[in-house]
């Protein structure tokens, strides 16, 4: 009987919460529009995809073979052949002026060397001022040129600016795994699942609880027999449901609109997302115990989201961060979940491979959630 009462109370809070959501168009809008908005931003606008980069070509060979190479670049869609030039200096000028982002020089004798089955080299110059684009362009250039000189060029690129590189032009050595076209949508969409789950649950949970305090309804709740844990559970569950709905929404849009293939198990992804939610909900609860107004709650929630965006590997690779930030990224739950959801979606990873991340996520989730529940007091102070 006691257990039944507990369920009834939790259910009462849940039902009320759903009524709030249904009658508050703003919450509903956040829930539906936010993920779509973020998908569009990260799927299209914040893209490191290389498309139609203006390319300057200095063809000193002028043979069918060299034209075929140029054609191959054009056909790839990554580059537009914007200029045909007749000196190296022209390439340097075009890149300096920003008119071209890359330069391809095909030396005289290219076709002859190919014909003699010798190592034919073309040089490829890339504007490294935007390293992300440069990296991708490089990879594309290499892939297109079917060469293995990428490493050499990258070494050169690290010094920044406009640098020449060497592109041996015969053997296909470079291959990109998992995301052969290097489409950032494939990389971003699964990551978005993590970010949106966190934003939504942390923000909405915090706001939903603080609203009770701000509007004085918490005082009425306090004098009812409901326990803190029941209240927390009842408040959380609706937002978990919303979060999962959003997750499915992202997966559907990702699959059918951005054509992101899901290589792994969707069930595993959902299960581990639930694990991840423990820490996001904990963050939301912690925020709610500190904030007095909904506005404060929102600002605090965003404050927790920012480091997640920048330090979790969502935007920038962790490996290239300074050691302090790398260390910091280890206590951010999203760091682990990103490895998990990218792993499942892109690589088809299973539990065996993801075990270290799952373990860390569990540890972090338990710590954050227990802290939050301990701090949450069903009393006025």
């Amino acid at each position: 009987m006691r257990f039944l009462h507990v369920l009834i109370r939790i259910f009462a809070i849940m039902r009320k919460e759903f009524i709030h959501i249904r009658r508050d168009p703003r919450t509903l809008a956040i829930v539906i529009i936010l993920p779509i908005f973020q998908l569009i931003i990260f799927g299209y606008a914040v893209t490191s995809d290389v498309k139609h980069l203006p390319l300057a070509v200095f063809d000193q060979d002028r043979t069918a073979a060299s034209r075929a190479l140029i054609e191959a670049y054009r056909n790839s869609g990554y580059f537009d052949i914007a200029y045909y030039v007749s000196t190296h200096d022209e390439i340097a000028y075009l890149i300096d002026a920003g008119l071209a982002r890359a330069g391809l020089t095909i030396p005289p004798g290219y076709s002859n060397r190919l014909a003699r089955r010798e190592q034919a080299e073309v040089s490829f110059i890339i504007d490294g001022s935007d390293p992300t684009i440069a990296n991708t362009a490089l990879a594309s250039a290499s892939a297109i040129g079917q060469a293995h000189g990428a490493e050499l060029l990258q070494t050169a690129l690290r010094r920044g600016g406009t640098l020449p590189g060497l592109l041996p032009g015969v053997e296909v050595r470079t291959r990109v795994w998992y995301n052969p076209n290097m489409r950032s949508a494939n990389y971003m969409v699964p990551a978005l699942i993590g970010l949106i789950l966190q934003t939504l649950t942390a923000l909405l949970t915090a706001v939903a609880i603080v609203r009770e305090r701000e509007q004085g309804t918490l005082e009425s709740l306090i004098v009812t027999p409901i326990r803190s844990v029941e209240l927390v559970l009842g408040k959380i569950v609706p937002y978990v449901v919303l979060a999962f709905m959003d997750m499915i929404l992202i997966l559907v849009v990702g699959t059918y609109w951005f054509h992101v293939p899901i290589n792994g198990s969707v069930t595993l992804l959902l299960a581990l997302a639930a694990l991840f939610l423990m820490s996001s909900l904990g963050i939301g609860l912690l925020v709610s115990s500190a904030a007095r107004t909904q506005q404060e709650a929102m600002m605090m929630a965003f404050f927790t989201i920012l480091p997640s965006v920048f330090l979790s590997g969502f935007m920038f690779p962790i490996a290239s961060m300074p050691p302090v930030l790398q260390w910091l990224s280890k206590v951010i739950p999203l760091t682990y979940f990103l490895v998990i959801d990218r792993g499942i979606v892109l690589k088809g990873n299973g539990m065996d491979i993801l075990l270290p991340q799952v373990t860390m996520l569990t540890v972090l989730g338990v710590i954050i959630l227990s802290l939050a529940v301990l701090r949450f007091r069903k009393r006025l102070e």
Partner: protein
């Protein structure tokens, strides 16, 4: 729950907010079946006392028992047994009347036929039966108060704490509200209510006058009335302000208070001063409709007590 005649027992209860002492070593006993009124100026600590007793907020020191349960350690037991209506509207504005009632019925585990009957009763006496589908936000101030009361009563509590339930409500709704409280009282409920309205204090069986975190006086309304200095003369005049100046200057007059076209003059000896006052007013050309001896009300008692205390500090 005990059957002890004592419902509330507070012993040197204190509550501090940082440097501010909201409730200062307050001791109080309320017996079963009382309507106990807490009155006092703003910031005297009325809301905090009610919150402490309803176990909504922990005390800084001291202790109190409600129905025999300790407010620190048995908060859950107290919550099951009492009804509490906070001062601020604390229902869900986007939920309808019936949704709010059902919600609290769920939380208090009032189910089945019992819930059905209880909600019907509450809707009937609060006269909200025809508004069940209306959202709380769309109710008038008086109706919101009645809905809040109905929600606080869903589990049939024997002790009811009400924090300024009629503030900002029009006189008709106030009357209705007090009619409801009277009928609850007749049914045996113990009611502890704070109010800024002195006419409401008159309806209580006992009144505690709070001042600076303590109960300065605690008595029946009759007892409080006797605390006013001397005797009271009521003077009706169209020129109140002028009459007031004249009365205040008269020897033997302790205090003068104005109420609309009515002047209350506290004197040592009403029989002796009444003619002198009439004469003084006539001499100044102030028309007087009537002068007679009157019973002081709680309001007069309240004002002279507060004014006296403020003067003393």
């Amino acid at each position: 729950m005990t059957d002890s005649p004592i419902v509330v027992e507070a012993d040197r209860l204190s509550r501090r907010f940082g440097p501010i002492v909201a409730v200062n070593e307050l001791s109080l006993t309320v017996a079963r079946g009382e309507i106990f009124g807490l009155i006092g100026p703003d910031g005297a600590g009325k809301t905090t006392v009610l919150r402490l007793l309803a176990a909504v907020m922990p005390p800084s020191s001291g202790q109190a028992r409600v129905l025999g349960f300790d407010i620190r350690h048995q908060a859950e037991r107290i919550r099951q047994a009492i009804g509490y209506m906070p001062q601020k509207f604390s229902l869900y504005a986007d939920l309808t009347v019936i949704e709010n009632l059902n919600f609290f019925a769920d939380l208090f585990n009032v189910r089945g036929a019992r819930r059905h009957q209880r909600i019907a009763e509450l809707l009937a006496f609060s006269r909200l039966a025809e508004f069940t589908e209306r959202r709380a936000a769309a109710l008038s101030g008086g109706m919101q108060k009645k809905l809040a009361l109905a929600c606080a009563l869903i589990h049939n509590p024997q002790v009811i704490f009400l924090d300024e339930p009629t503030t900002g409500v029009d006189p008709i709704s106030r009357r209705e509200f007090w009619d409801i409280l009277s009928s609850l009282h007749v049914q045996g409920a113990t009611i502890i209510v704070s109010t800024p309205y002195m006419d409401e204090a008159e309806r209580c069986s006992r009144v505690g006058l709070m001042y600076e975190g303590r109960i300065a006086e605690c008595d029946t309304p009759d007892g409080l009335r006797r605390l006013t200095p001397g005797e009271l003369l009521a003077v009706w005049t169209p020129q109140v302000m002028q009459a007031r100046r004249i009365a205040a200057a008269l020897p033997g007059v302790l205090e003068v208070q104005t109420y609309g076209d009515l002047l209350h003059v506290f004197v040592h000896d009403a029989a002796a001063i009444a003619p002198q006052l009439a004469q003084a007013l006539a001499a100044a050309g102030v028309p007087v409709t009537e002068i007679k001896r009157a019973q002081p009300r709680v309001e007069e008692a309240f004002i002279s007590l507060i004014v006296g205390r403020r003067a003393a500090t």
